[in-house]
């Protein structure tokens, strides 16, 4: 299989049609065994034929008929945006998320809705109401989560590109476990209008693909200021694809000593090899300390539980058929209960407000660390994926996120380069990969 770059050339040259491209993926999805795609877009072929006409007229957009899998928590009008939960199993989206509008404008085709951890609460891909997702890259192992179906659809060859959402690692974690590239952009860079909430101050839509070019291309399409939301960043001239280069001369890349202490030695040795490669490409490696790293995880979970509790109040059984507490999985229920408990009037000072204070502290620490360097490189997860179905405690499950949560504490232009790193590097500070 060629690269995405090559495929785009073939599509534009008319060597393959968008219709053929989509038909190929539809055939594969029909026989897929990963449980990666929950619903197929029945209009996909029709949309592809329209794109083919535009290609012939020479006015097709950047995505020219590429197939895109969409995580089931991003609204695609007319498709079931279920969050892989019984709560929303009958909800057909009434509108397109802003990112979907942007994908359509560039002639990308939504191939289907990807499976995920229920309401994006999970790091293993096992909590979907519609059954667990399998890891195409490592048989018998979890695919990671929560954008498990998005990652599996790339690793399993079910779509050209995918979008997912990342709150505390939900893109980077499954990308890492499935051996593909996934990126969580800086908060506010990609519009969230139409992304169903997990924790509003952390959630961010990002892209997944087989290589860095793919994720950069799709990010270029979906990123950028939107006046339809209040926390959107005013950034212009987003051009990532033209800045891809393996030349790292003059770059300062930080590595965090605390990361190493938390991480499995097999992963550490891979990271070490990668860092050496970076050095060979001209980068200067700088040691960085994040003494408050151990506070990131509890801070993250306290904050997200409260925000998730708030976000799920609309699923009260009046409009979507089921009350969330009556039909959701145990992880969802745990988060709602804890969120409700700690946001009570008598405790909010003790937990939620304190968590917000720690968040500011961690933010300052990271910004300080990033002052003199271009980016931080490190592993995505501290351990290798466990076997599918293996029972692990909630705390062990949460600890998968220990290396990815701190990026989201920072609503700023920072970048963390992680284990998903493969072929080349994005010369841009707006990413956390």
């Amino acid at each position: 299989m060629g690269t995405l770059d090559e495929k785009l050339h073939s599509l534009r040259a008319g060597e393959i049609s968008a219709e053929q491209n989509i038909q190929n993926f539809l055939d594969k999805i029909e026989n897929e065994k990963y449980n990666a795609i929950l619903y197929v877009n029945s209009e996909a072929l029709e949309e592809a034929r329209n794109v083919d006409r535009k290609i012939k007229q020479g006015r097709a957009g950047k995505l020219s008929g590429l197939a895109i899998a969409v995580k089931s928590n991003i609204n695609v009008k007319g498709l079931k945006t279920s969050c892989a939960s019984k709560t929303l199993e009958n909800y057909s989206a009434t509108y397109d998320a802003t990112v979907i509008e942007r994908i359509r404008r560039e002639d990308g085709i939504v191939i289907g809705m990807a499976n995920m951890d229920e309401f994006a609460c999970g790091s293993s891909g096992e909590t979907s109401y519609f059954g667990p997702i399998l890891n195409p890259a490592a048989r018998g192992r979890i695919p990671g989560g929560s954008s498990s179906g998005s990652a599996a659809s790339i690793a399993g060859g079910l779509s050209d590109l995918a979008i997912g959402s990342d709150t505390g690692g939900s893109i980077r974690n499954p990308a890492s476990h499935c051996g593909i590239i996934g990126i969580k952009p800086t908060y506010g860079l990609v519009p969230r209008q139409g992304l169903i909430d997990l924790a509003m101050s952390f959630d961010q839509i990002g892209t997944l693909g087989r290589d860095v070019y793919s994720t950069a291309l799709l990010l270029e399409v979906i990123a950028g200021y939107s006046k339809r939301e209040a926390v959107s960043r005013k950034v212009e001239n987003l051009d990532y694809t033209s800045k891809l280069t393996p030349d790292l001369e003059g770059y300062k890349i930080g590595y965090v000593t605390e990361f190493e202490e938390l991480t499995d030695r097999r992963i550490n040795s891979e990271i070490k090899k990668s860092l050496e490669k970076l050095e060979m490409q001209g980068a200067e490696l700088v040691e960085v300390n994040l003494p408050n790293l151990n506070k990131a995880l509890p801070t993250y979970y306290l904050t997200t539980f409260v925000e998730f509790f708030s976000a799920t109040r609309k699923y009260d059984g009046r409009r979507y058929g089921y009350k969330i507490e009556d039909v959701c999985g145990e992880e969802i229920l745990r988060r709602i209960h804890i969120g409700s408990y700690i946001s009570q009037k008598e405790y909010s000072g003790k937990y939620y407000r304190k968590a917000l204070q720690f968040r500011s502290l961690i933010t300052r620490e990271l910004l300080e660390a990033l002052r003199d360097i271009d980016l931080i490189a490190g592993p995505t997860t501290p351990k290798l994926p466990h076997r599918l179905g293996e029972k692990i405690s909630p705390l062990d499950m949460y600890s998968y996120d220990v290396l990815t949560v701190q990026a989201k504490q920072v609503k700023s232009e920072i970048s963390l380069l992680e284990y998903s790193f493969r072929q080349n590097l994005l010369k841009n500070r707006r990413f956390s990969m």
Binding site: I74, N75, T81, T94, I196, M200, E229, V231, F309, S343
Partner: protein
Amino acid sequence: MKITIGLEIHEQIATNTKLFCNCSTSYREVKPNSNICEICTGMPGAKPMPPNRKAIDAAIEIALMFNCEIIQEPVYIQRKHYSYPDLPSGYQRTSLPIAKNGNLLGIGIWEVHFEEDPGKYDPVTGRVDYNRSGVPLVEIVTAPQLHSPEEARNFLRELTKVLQYTGKTREEGGTMRVDTNISLEGGARVEIKNINSVRGAYKALLFEITRQKNLMTHGRSVKRETRAFIESQMITRAMRVKEEAEDYRYIPDPDLPPVAITNEKIEYIKNILPEAPHLKEKRFIVEYKIKADDAKIIASELELANAFEKVAMVIPAQQAASWIRDEVRRILEYNGISFKNSGIEPDYIIELLNMMNSGKITVRTAKKVMELLPELRKSPRIIVEENSWVKISDENYVEAACEDALKENPGAVKDYLSGKREALNFIVGRVMSKTRGRADPARVLEILRKKVEGVMK
């Protein structure tokens, strides 16, 4: 027995679009659920747009009218969680105070903030209309410094006037909602919700005082609780006691950065602020030396007060005041309209009073023209000309009309001569109708008296 009352007043802010989306705010005159989108119906994944600046500016202006201090730090918008069918997200977005420490009529204003209106739930059909969902509201919280239902009513009337003066709340009225706290000496504080008018607030407080006094006289204690006002019966009914008090689990809305209010903005709004009605009233008494009663009525509507000042530049102030207080108010009340929408221009009043004062038309004609202004909406001079209502100053013509009237009503003449003095008024009326009101009634009376008494001699 000492009574302590505090008020929380909610009023809709008049903007074209809602607080967090671009939907139109008209919800009364349109089909249910026609001015809605994914944001104001809280569809999964929908986020608020940046808050409507015009609504926030209006809230600032209203706060400044009460001499409040505007909060200088960024103001967070919070989520207030509760479950009700009209609340599509399960929480209401409500700002922290944008202003504090104001006053009106000597009553402290604790704080002013803005929030979004929920939809409208009909418990009978079970349907929800989201047209109203997301309409901006301003909430004004008073200190517990009111001491009787009358005082509360008076305060609310004045507050309504102030809000109308700003022109920033909905003109059609009837959108005010009031919560009130009331406690009697020795009893717990009771909150009453669901009050929709000034009158409702007054009635609810009256009922509540009686209820609480009764409890106390029977040796029972007044519980700390929340009660609902039942307007159809003018009573209050228990909703929940303190132990069941809802915990709204307030959190700052993560989808909304705090709102910053700049000094420039505050200064700009201060410069365009209208004079408050009670201050205007006082100034009218001092500056124009008009009667206090007249000043109060004239200051009740900003446009009316402005019209008065314009008229008083040309017409003697007390005459202008009396005319506006008696004639203009009468016509406004009769038609059930505000001065602003009456079609009566200050220039029309000047023209009319000038014609009257110069003797060109009679008082009666002037009143008649006044009545026609809301319908005809054109210059009194033209109305008078078109109807040939110019006062008849031809003495012979009036005398002839008097002569005719006397001849036609010998009975009335006889009555008058036999001592029934009011019988002559009847003949005056006949003459006025013969001259279609254009004769000066005082002059007619004079002529008639002379003629009849001349017969006697």
